[in-house]
């Protein structure tokens, strides 16, 4: 969990262009102002490129926050 979060942190900072942004397991598009629908595409594509994972259709829509996304990624990376 922590290891993935540590790698996600700079991705979120880069994509949202906010060097002081702190992302936690509880963060979500509701709590991070710049995380709009356009930024969402950039975040997803950057994460897929960085971790070499693919999110299937509908997978991301069921998640409530970054912590749940990390849970999904852990499953994929173990896969």
């Amino acid at each position: 969990m922590d290891e993935i979060l540590a790698r996600l942190q700079p991705i979120f900072r880069d994509v949202l262009d906010d060097p002081s942004l702190v992302v936690t397991a509880e963060s979500s598009a509701r709590t991070i102002e710049q995380w709009d629908s356009l930024a969402h595409i950039s975040i997803v594509s950057a994460i897929e490129q960085e971790f070499k994972v693919r999110f299937a259709l509908g997978e991301l829509e069921t998640l409530n926050n970054v912590g749940e996304m990390i849970g999904l990624m852990e499953k994929k990376l173990r896969g």
């Binding site: 595409i41 950057a46 999110f55």
Partner: protein
């Protein structure tokens, strides 16, 4: 910084750091503003983001118009107020196979042909409106192909197959582009093949976000579009500087001798170098200048071109530097000899240390990482899209000849003590006439790529130039110069506009290959003659400084204009009162045809 914009791209960095890169690039000065309408058949935000990065890296700052999602057709043909008000210089129609309207499966050939005609007509109507009415240049994607084919290979055979139908439309688009100089095709059919259809399309991104091209492939797409746009504004590169040992042939000629070089069809390695030479020769044939820059003994280096399997000949090179000086110095000398800016140069060398020093010392020169495997040289140079032509003009095909003729002229000049006598010996002939239909492409090209001898560096689209041509208060002039060594083609332009009794010169430019040939005097004489005919009593000239046009800062002073205003930003305004006593300045161009 520019490394980032070189093939192969670091997709992870591009995808996530785009905002920071954008901020960094936007801080540059001397950017050319370009008004660009992106008319999308699918979501275009990603494309816009990456296109902006590649354009900024090329010195172009795009100002974007984006159509509403998939409203590319409506916003041009029906509800065009917003687009019209935006006044784009370039419209990019980003459509892909998902936008094509296919004939039904198993349609007969008449139905398919009629569907193809109707689909072509739908796009043609958009182009005509954009080109003739909105007045912009159009970049139209051709079609990529779907990832699936329910008919298998028959899909490319049966007339109703997806692939068959799209390939037919692509051929029709290409034919239309050959007819219309202001319609340019962005060949995504090729690009999708290079990327691979499985990476080009991503069904998840299509279903979630309506992105017809995957985000990673969009980076490559933006690169190709930026190359076309660079070409439109004359920013494509023009000179390829080549190292010799292990670049044009295998081995070191100083050690191995001509006979020891690996070149020719006998070995796989030799064949790779031969193929690379053939690729360079193709570039030369379409107007790219080739030059050699090698650390070598000058005589020994030349011997390499006596190898029985050499494709390139010594006469293919517009400049040849073989010595022991640092390469960045030799390249700067080549730029000086050819009278071309270093930003139009590409330097190819297998040696990473040489590449490094040239890149560091001459940051505007493109220095691709060629690796050291000759079998990949063509790919690594070709994929950079440095030399993207917008169209191949007759001038392009002759350009290498112009420069070779210049070398002969320089030799001759050395034998004359008096420069005037040299000019007379050239037996120069000029044609000076208002802008003419036949030459509008070349004229547009010149206004967009002349940097050095250019008083105002105003850039024009062909639409703007057509409008000026039609304006009764405008005076337009082009000059064509030939001499006993050959024809230089169209090399100088001027645009004047009558304002009360002044003729204001909005544009005056000249190709540097005819510098100091008395042509600037002929242009002045012709401007004066035409100003007097129109009843003007003064010529008004303006100089607008850029990073590259300092050579003409005293142009008007040298021609006898009086300084009127010196602006704080370095611009200067000049005035030459006219009367019928005007003495012609041009004395060495004796054969002038006036139109």
């Amino acid at each position: 910084m520019t490394r980032r914009f070189e093939y192969p791209f670091d997709l992870a960095v591009m995808l996530r750091r785009r905002k920071a890169i954008r901020a960094e690039l936007s801080a540059q000065t001397q950017l050319l503003d370009v008004r660009l309408a992106v008319l999308g058949g699918s979501t275009t935000n990603e494309l816009r983001d990456f296109l902006e990065l590649f354009l900024l890296a090329s010195g172009i700052r795009p100002i974007f118009y984006e159509s509403e999602y998939a409203k590319y057709e409506e916003e041009v043909l029906l509800d065009d107020a917003r687009l019209r008000a935006f006044a784009p210089q370039i419209a990019l129609i980003h459509t892909t196979w998902v936008n094509a309207r296919f004939p039904g499966p198993f349609s007969n050939s008449e139905t398919v042909a009629s569907a193809a005609r109707s689909e072509f007509g739908r796009f043609e109507a958009i182009w005509i409106k954009l080109i003739n009415d909105i007045g912009c240049t159009v970049i139209q994607n051709n079609f990529d192909e779907p990832r699936h084919r329910s008919l298998g290979s028959i899909d490319a055979v049966a007339c109703y197959g997806y692939s068959s139908f799209l390939r037919q439309l692509n051929a029709d688009f290409a034919a239309a582009a050959r007819q219309r100089p202001r319609l340019l095709i962005n060949d995504i059919s090729h690009l999708a093949a290079v990327v691979g259809l499985d990476a080009w399309h991503d069904p998840t991104y299509w279903l979630n976000y309506k992105l017809a091209v995957s985000p990673a492939a969009t980076v490559t797409l933006a690169h190709q579009l930026a190359a076309i746009i660079r070409g439109i504004f004359g920013k494509s590169r023009k000179v390829l500087v080549l190292d010799l040992d292990n670049t044009l042939w295998g081995g070191v000629i100083g050690d191995d001798g001509v006979d020891g070089l690996r070149l020719g069809k006998e070995t796989p390695e030799g064949e790779a170098y031969t193929a690379f030479q053939e690729y360079c020769l193709e570039l030369k044939r379409r107007g790219i200048l080739l030059a050699v820059c090698s650390k070598n003994d000058p005589l020994i280096a030349r011997e390499g071109f006596s190898h029985p399997d050499t494709v390139l000949q010594l006469t293919d090179f517009a400049a040849f530097k073989a010595n022991w000086n640092p390469k960045h110095e030799a390249i700067a000398e080549i730029a000086h000899e050819l009278n071309l800016g270093l930003d139009s140069f590409v330097f190819v060398d297998d040696n990473p240390a040489e590449r490094e020093i040239v890149a560091a010392q001459l940051p505007v020169v493109a220095v691709p990482n060629m690796g050291s495997d000759p079998s990949r040289y063509i790919e690594l140079l070709d994929r950079q899209l440095y030399f993207e032509p917008v169209g191949i003009s007759a001038e392009d095909l002759q350009r290498a000849g112009f420069y070779v003729a210049n070398v002969e002229r320089n030799l001759e000049q050395a034998t004359f003590a008096d420069y005037g006598a040299f000019l007379d010996s050239l037996a120069m002939k000029a044609v000076v006439a208002p802008f003419h239909d036949t030459y509008m492409d070349r004229i547009t090209q010149l206004t967009n790529k002349s940097n050095q001898f250019n008083l105002t560096t105003r850039r024009y689209t062909i639409g703007e130039l057509e409008a000026i041509r039609a304006d009764p208060s405008a005076v337009t002039l082009y000059a064509r110069l030939s001499d006993k060594f050959g024809d230089n083609g169209i090399v100088s332009l001027a645009i004047g506009k009558l304002n009360a009794s002044d003729l204001e010169i909005d544009l005056w430019l000249m190709s540097c290959r005819v510098l100091k040939r008395d042509l600037e005097h002929l242009m002045l004489d012709e401007l004066v003659a035409r100003a007097l005919t129109r009843g003007a009593t003064a010529l008004v000239g303006r100089y607008r400084p850029t990073a590259k046009n300092r050579m003409v800062s005293d142009h008007y002073a040298k021609l006898g204009f009086g300084l009127v205003t010196e602006h704080p930003d370095g611009r200067t305004d000049w005035r030459l009162p006219l009367n019928t006593e005007y003495q012609k300045r041009c004395t060495h161009i004796k054969d002038v045809i006036r139109g």
